[in-house]
């Protein structure tokens, strides 16, 4: 058979490829493709672009959704940050593991998926030497209500610090601890339910933690120090952690109870919405709420070929994370993806005969919609705490030790209100759970209420926000770099000479070092001229990770 006479590319294209080829790194996925990647790409991006089955999560090395094993070339990856090291330790993964989202390539690497054939090293706790166990007298009991990120993190932290104590954790959802951040990807099917669990199924048993899956707490008896479950069990405790999380908050809107109104909080919410979309052959949708969840869900809905508009009451989307300029840019980028954002719009009513057909706005405008998804914030699940008589102000009030008004009861995550604030972020829940775990065991740890980094997880748009980007409180200097590319933006907020907050749109390679500099509150006085010139690699600084 002769050579083909089919279409050919111009010689100039081959020459251009030959020029960049020597700069590319060879990334070999065991039982998968071998990819030629550009330096600076993360293993997660490379995997996703080449159909390697790896689930994404926070994309900051924190949630643990994307562990990989590095079989060769570990030195050709950017070294793990403090955050990533904490995650790797928590997951008790083998020492050759990395989180794919946080590992950027600098040379050739051979990668295996950590979940294929590698059993996580969960013997850490079981092997703790018996002789060194501290609590020899009365056995202590910790009960944790809620098996989301706060509850599970606390359970693991308690066990790591005390090999002996009795730990029971109960969760109402019938699923193992899973990656709530990506459930919207269940809609187009770009995520699969069986890849959502963040820990191996034996995570509790291997740590001798009693896990009551699908069991809800019915009441708390603070006098007898007991929790009653809806299964009729009674669990006595010395220390109790409330990690009951939150439900979706829905704004006051007429006819909300109509068919076709949805929220997105748990796996089952996503499954129900997907069913509705398929059965009703939905073509148009409205998402109410232009925060992280709203925009990410809109992107997943768009990926199903549905025309989607987002209604945001604030003047720009992501108003908690972005300033006006960055907000306007993200609005434009979303529009380019085919997602229309109506900022400063207030929904008034759902209109339709027996199911949603239109959303009516306060200004009288009507938007056609086969369904409406509400992503308008969270309502902490405080029913148990309220009945138990704990102090509540929207959430369960906690001090900086995460203790509630009852010294034996702690709270962490979306149910806890610290200084009146409930950020509703994965990373805040983890940090609060860690603090609560230490204090429940008699230690002294204080919660540092700094605003952790958040990223928008919409394919094609890279947005990072870290620290309090809105507050104006003296000694503030904003360093904004005027990039030639109108699709990029960056701003560093400097307070008293220190990196205190940042917004980065585009510039994906800068995300980790900007987050680290802000979280470390690094002194940037000496490098301000370089920052103003646009050389932000100086933020890597002298701390050396």
């Amino acid at each position: 058979m002769q050579a083909s006479d089919g279409p050919r590319v111009a010689e100039s294209v081959l020459r251009a490829y030959a020029r960049v080829r020597p700069t590319m790194a060879e990334i070999r996925f065991v039982s998968g493709p071998t990819v030629l990647a550009r330096p600076g790409d993360s293993l997660l991006r490379i995997a996703e672009a080449n159909q390697v089955p790896l689930e994404s999560g926070c994309q900051m090395g924190v949630c643990g959704a994307d562990p990989v094993r590095i079989l060769a070339g570990a030195q050709n990856l950017t070294p793990p940050s403090m955050d990533e090291r904490v995650t790797l330790r928590r997951l008790a993964l083998a020492p050759d593991c990395r989180m794919a989202c946080a590992a950027r390539v600098r040379g050739d690497v051979t990668v295996a998926l950590a979940r294929e054939g590698v059993t996580p090293n969960t013997s850490v706790c079981a092997d703790a030497p018996v002789a060194e166990r501290r609590h020899s007298s009365s056995r202590q009991r910790v009960v944790i209500i809620g098996s989301g990120v706060a509850g599970v993190t606390a359970a693991i932290e308690v066990r790591e610090r005390d090999p002996d104590i009795d730990i029971a954790i109960l969760g109402a959802e019938p699923y193992d601890y899973y990656n709530r951040m990506v459930i919207n990807k269940l809609l187009p099917g770009s995520a699969a339910i069986d890849r959502l669990p963040l820990l191996p199924s034996d995570w509790a048993a291997s740590r001798r933690i009693r896990h009551l899956c699908g069991v809800a707490a019915r009441s708390i008896d603070r006098v007898r120090c007991e929790v009653q479950t809806d299964g009729g069990d009674t669990l006595p405790y010395e220390r109790l952690l409330l990690a009951t999380g939150a439900a979706c908050d829905v704004p006051a809107i007429e006819e909300y109870s109509k068919q076709g109104a949805f929220v997105m909080r748990a796996i089952d919410d996503a499954v129900r919405l997907r069913q509705y979309i398929v059965e009703q052959r939905c073509r148009r949708a409205v998402v109410v709420g232009g925060g992280l969840l709203g925009l990410e869900a809109a992107s997943s809905i768009r990926a199903m070929g549905i025309r989607v508009s987002v209604i945001e009451t604030a003047a720009w989307p992501l108003s908690r994370q972005l300033d006006r300029t960055a907000g306007a840019l993200v609005q434009q980028l979303m529009t380019d993806l085919g997602i229309k954002i109506l900022s400063g719009a207030v929904p008034r009513a759902l209109v339709g005969a027996d199911r949603v057909e239109e959303v009516q706005l306060a200004d009288g405008q009507r938007l056609t919609a086969d369904f409406v998804l509400f992503a308008t914030g969270i309502e902490p699940n405080v029913t148990l705490a309220r009945r138990a008589g704990l102090a509540i102000d929207h959430g369960v009030i906690v001090n900086d030790r995460m203790a509630t008004s009852d010294a034996r009861i702690f709270a962490a995550g979306d149910v806890a209100a610290y200084r009146g604030s409930i950020p509703g972020l994965w990373r805040v829940a983890m940090e609060q759970a860690r603090v609560a775990a230490i204090n429940m065991l008699g230690g002294d740890s204080r919660y540092d209420a700094r605003v952790p980094p958040t990223r928008l997880k919409v394919p094609g748009i890279d947005v990072l926000s870290v620290g309090d980007v809105t507050g104006a409180d003296g000694h503030v200097q904003d360093i904004c770099v005027d990039d030639d590319d109108p699709r990029q933006y960056r701003k560093l907020v400097v307070r008293a000479g220190k990196a205190s907050a940042a917004i980065v749109v585009g510039h994906q390679a800068l995300h980790e070092l900007v987050s680290e500099a802000v979280m470390a509150n690094r002194d940037v006085t000496a490098v301000i001229p370089a920052l103003e010139r646009g050389d932000w690699t100086v933020l890597r600084g002298e701390c050396g990770g």
Partner: protein, 162 residues
């Protein structure tokens, strides 16, 4: 169809992306994925639904189609050849297997890569699809002309062969 085209436009006219300058080509390449294939590895499988378009950078591939008598090799592709171009435009399932017959390399415009290119450089994305459409329509015209010539030959054996 004008037959007065010079040989200069022949190369220019039939090659994909020949009208782009060096800088634009580098930009388009930046948005592609690149892969290595070991000998025997399948790049495209018959029946799969995937809209990526491939350009062979090194090595060679065979195109194999299913036939009643067993799989038939219908073409061998080498560096500079393109495949997957039809599915990129029409989204239909792949019509053949394409398999590396030696250690090879290709760069790929996936739908996601193309989306990113489209958002960041709309002009280049437009050039990319128009040019792909142009070389495909050129191929279609060529085969139509061939068919017409053969038909003529069949009707009138005295007609000059093409």
């Amino acid at each position: 169809m004008s037959s007065s085209d010079t040989s200069h436009t022949e190369e220019f006219g039939s090659r994909f992306l020949a009208s782009l300058d060096e800088e634009d080509i580098a930009t388009v390449l930046h948005y592609t994925e690149a892969r290595r294939y070991s000998s025997g590895e399948v790049a495209v499988r018959c029946g799969d639904v995937d809209r990526s378009v491939y350009v062979i950078a090194a090595g060679s591939f065979e195109v194999v189609v299913p036939a009643p008598t067993g799989p038939q090799r219908v073409a061998v592709l080498r560096d500079g050849d393109i495949f997957g171009d039809l599915a990129f435009l029409d989204g239909e399932p792949r019509s053949a297997d394409v398999r590396a017959i030696e250690d090879s390399e290709a760069f790929i415009m996936t739908p996601a890569s193309f989306d990113r290119l489209r958002l960041a450089h709309p002009r280049l994305a437009l050039s990319f699809v128009l040019d792909l459409g142009r070389i495909l329509s050129r191929r279609f015209r060529d085969s139509s002309r061939l068919l017409a010539a053969r038909t003529r030959l069949w009707c009138d054996p005295s007609a000059p062969e093409l």
